[in-house]
C-alpha cells in the first residue's frame, strides 16, 4: 500500500486526487498531458436523464484568480453514458465516479436506475448546479429538499452514494447532516458559488442566465471553511474541493478533515496541476515520515 492510497467508500483510490466533474470530460481529454491512470479518480461530466444542449451565449469567463461558467449541464444523457462513456472512463484506470444532475426527483430516480447498468464505482449526486433553470441547485439549498432526493436515490442505486453540496445553501452543515441522515455514504463540496459579471460595453450581463457559477483559486478559502464545518458536522467521509491548485492547498483540505480532494478549474490553467499535486503529496509524506496521508486527515481538529 502506498503512502497516498485512500479508501473512499470501499473503493481503493491510488491517491486522494480526483478530477472534478465538468472539468475533465469523461477522462480522455487531457491524455496529451498525462496518463489519467495516475489519478485517484475521475468524476465525469454531469449527466441528466435525457441529456441537454446546455446554455446559449457566452459560457465561461475569467474573474480575478477564478472563473465563471454557465455550461448548463450540456451532456449526452444517461443512456449514452451507459452505452459509450463509462467504458471510456473505466479504461483510464482511475476510479470511475458518475456525476448525476437532474430537474426533478423522478428524473434523478429514473437516471439512477439506468446507471445501475453501468460499470462505475461511485455515484455523485449533483444537487448543486447553479446553471440550470429547474431543479439543480434548488435541491441543495436546504436540508429538507436535499434529504428527499437523496432518500429516493439511495433507495434505488446499487453504488455507493456521494452527494455534492452547494455553497449557496443557507446552512451547509445543516444540509450535510440532512443528507447524511437520508442515507448519503459520502459528501463532496463545494460546487460553484453563484456570481455575476456585467459587460460594461454592452451594458448587459455577460451570461444569458445573468448569474453563473464561480470557481477556481479565488473561492478556495470559502470552500475550505465549508469543508471544515461539514467535516465537523457529519461522520461520513467528505471529499473537499473548490479552488485547489497546489499540493499545499490539497493538504489544507485534508488537514481540515477531507478524505479526498477534487481539482477542477486549476487543470484549465495548468494541465499538469493534478499530477503535480499527487507528486507534491507523495513528497510531503516522505519528508514528514507519514506512512499514509490519512495520518494528517483532520489534524487541525485534534
Amino acid at each position: 500500500m502506498s503512502r497516498l492510497t485512500t479508501n473512499l467508500l470501499g473503493i481503493q483510490l491510488k491517491n486522494p486526487v480526483i478530477a472534478a466533474s465538468g472539468t475533465f470530460g469523461f477522462g480522455k481529454e487531457y491524455e496529451g498531458y498525462f496518463d489519467p491512470s495516475v489519478l485517484g479518480g475521475i468524476s465525469g461530466k454531469g449527466l441528466t436523464l435525457h441529456g441537454s444542449k446546455g446554455n446559449s451565449g457566452i459560457r465561461v469567463c475569467e474573474t480575478p484568480a477564478g472563473m465563471m461558467n454557465s455550461i448548463g449541464l450540456e451532456n449526452p444523457g444517461v443512456a449514452h453514458f451507459v452505452k459509450h462513456e463509462c467504458h471510456v472512463m473505466r479504461s483510464t484506470g482511475a476510479a470511475v465516479i458518475c456525476n448525476l444532475g437532474g430537474h426533478s426527483i423522478e428524473d434523478y430516480v429514473k437516471a439512477t436506475q439506468m446507471i445501475n447498468d453501468a460499470d462505475i464505482d461511485i455515484l455523485e449526486l449533483n444537487i448543486s448546479c447553479p446553471n440550470v433553470k429547474e431543479g439543480g441547485m434548488a435541491f441543495g439549498m436546504c436540508g429538507k429538499t436535499a434529504a428527499e432526493v437523496v432518500k429516493k436515490v439511495k433507495a434505488v442505486t446499487k453504488f455507493p452514494l456521494m452527494v455534492k453540496l452547494s455553497p449557496n445553501a443557507s446552512d451547509i452543515s445543516e444540509v450535510a447532516r440532512a443528507v447524511e441522515d437520508a442515507g448519503a455514504d459520502a459528501i463532496s463540496l463545494i460546487n460553484t458559488l453563484l456570481g455575476m459579471r456585467i459587460d460594461v460595453r454592452s451594458k448587459k450581463p455577460i451570461f444569458n442566465n445573468v448569474y453563473a457559477g464561480v470557481s477556481g483559486p479565488a473561492v478556495m478559502p470559502i470552500a475550505l471553511r465549508m469543508v471544515h464545518s461539514v467535516c465537523k458536522a457529519v461522520k461520513i467521509p467528505v471529499v473537499g474541493l473548490g479552488g485547489i491548485s497546489s499540493y499545499t492547498d490539497a493538504l489544507e483540505f485534508i488537514m481540515a478533515g477531507a478524505t479526498a480532494i477534487q481539482v477542477g478549474t486549476a487543470t484549465f490553467a495548468n494541465p499538469f496541476a493534478m499530477p503535480q499535486i499527487i507528486e507534491g503529496l507523495e513528497k510531503y509524506c516522505v519528508q514528514n515520515k507519514l506512512e499514509n496521508i490519512s495520518e494528517i486527515r483532520g489534524i487541525i481538529n485534534k
Binding site: 487531457y30 451565449g57 465561461v60 475569467e62 484549465f268 490553467a269
Partner: protein, 234 residues
C-alpha cells in the same frame, strides 16, 4: 517552459511574439498564459501566425488584461504555452481566397504560406479588412498573388465569392456571419475559423461550444475551423 525568442509591436495595438519549441499547422492555436501567478488565470487562445524551424509566432491584438501582459514580455522570458490545439485548416488543391477582418488575419498568413508551398501553381487572393490602420500587409503581399485591403466597412462586401474558389474567413462574428450568407448565395465553399471564450482548450469543459447543423461542437477541439454551411449563427 517555452522561451520567448522575440516580442515586438507591429502597430500600437498589435504585437508579434515568437516562442521557441512550439509547432502546429495553420489554423491551430495555443493557449498562452503570460503569468506564473493566479491572475490572469486562464490561457488565452491565440492562433499560430507562422511556424519556422520549430518556433511559432503569434500575432495578437492587445484586447485586455492577458494580451496586455503578453505585450510587456521580453525575449528571454518564459511563457506557458499549451498546444497546438484544434483541427486547423484542411489544405485543398484549389485556388483559395482568404478573408480576414482585423486581427482575424493572424491565422490566414500561415495558411497562405502552407498552401503556396503545397500547391505553388494555385492562386491565393487575400481580402483584408481593417477598422483603422492596416498592418502586416507586406507579409501577405509576399505570399499571396493578390492582396485587397479595405479600411472601414465590411470586407465581405468586396469579396467576389465564386463556385470554384475555396474561401477561408477569420474575423469578428458579424463579419463571419456576413461571409457565410454571401458564400451561400454564390454557392461558394467557405471555411470559418470561429472564436469563443475558452477555459480548457482541449474539449473538456464545454465552455466554447457553438451550435451546428449536427448539434453542439466544441470550437477548441472540433474546430476552430468549420465549414460555414454547418455553423448555425445565433
Amino acid at each position: 517552459m517555452p522561451v520567448i525568442l522575440q516580442n515586438s509591436h507591429v502597430s500600437p495595438e498589435v504585437c508579434l511574439m515568437t516562442i521557441k519549441n512550439t509547432s502546429g499547422r495553420a489554423g491551430q492555436f495555443y493557449m498562452l498564459r503570460p503569468t506564473k501567478v493566479l491572475d490572469p488565470l486562464l490561457g488565452r487562445p491565440i492562433s499560430i501566425h507562422d511556424c519556422v524551424d520549430g518556433n511559432c509566432s503569434f500575432l495578437y491584438r492587445i484586447a485586455g488584461k492577458g494580451t496586455k501582459l503578453m505585450s510587456e514580455m521580453r525575449a528571454g522570458d518564459t511563457i506557458e504555452a499549451y498546444g497546438p490545439y484544434g483541427n486547423g485548416f484542411e489544405p485543398v488543391d484549389s485556388d483559395i481566397r482568404l478573408i480576414g477582418g482585423g486581427i482575424g488575419i493572424a491565422p490566414l498568413y500561415f495558411l497562405a504560406r502552407t498552401h503556396k508551398a503545397m500547391y505553388p501553381n494555385r492562386v491565393i487572393e487575400a481580402y483584408l479588412g481593417f477598422v483603422e490602420k492596416p498592418f502586416m500587409l507586406q507579409y501577405f503581399r509576399a505570399v499571396a498573388d493578390f492582396v485587397y485591403v479595405r479600411v472601414g466597412g465590411y470586407i465581405t462586401a468586396d469579396v467576389p465569392f465564386e463556385e470554384n474558389v475555396i474561401n477561408y474567413a477569420c474575423g469578428p462574428n458579424p463579419m463571419m456571419k456576413a461571409a457565410k450568407e454571401e458564400a451561400e448565395k454564390k454557392n461558394s465553399k467557405l471555411f470559418l475559423s470561429l472564436e469563443a471564450h475558452m477555459a480548457c482548450g482541449v474539449g473538456a469543459c464545454l465552455g466554447c461550444t457553438c451550435p451546428t447543423v449536427s448539434g453542439n461542437k466544441r470550437v477548441c477541439k472540433d474546430g476552430p475551423v468549420f465549414l460555414a454551411s454547418e455553423v448555425s449563427f445565433e
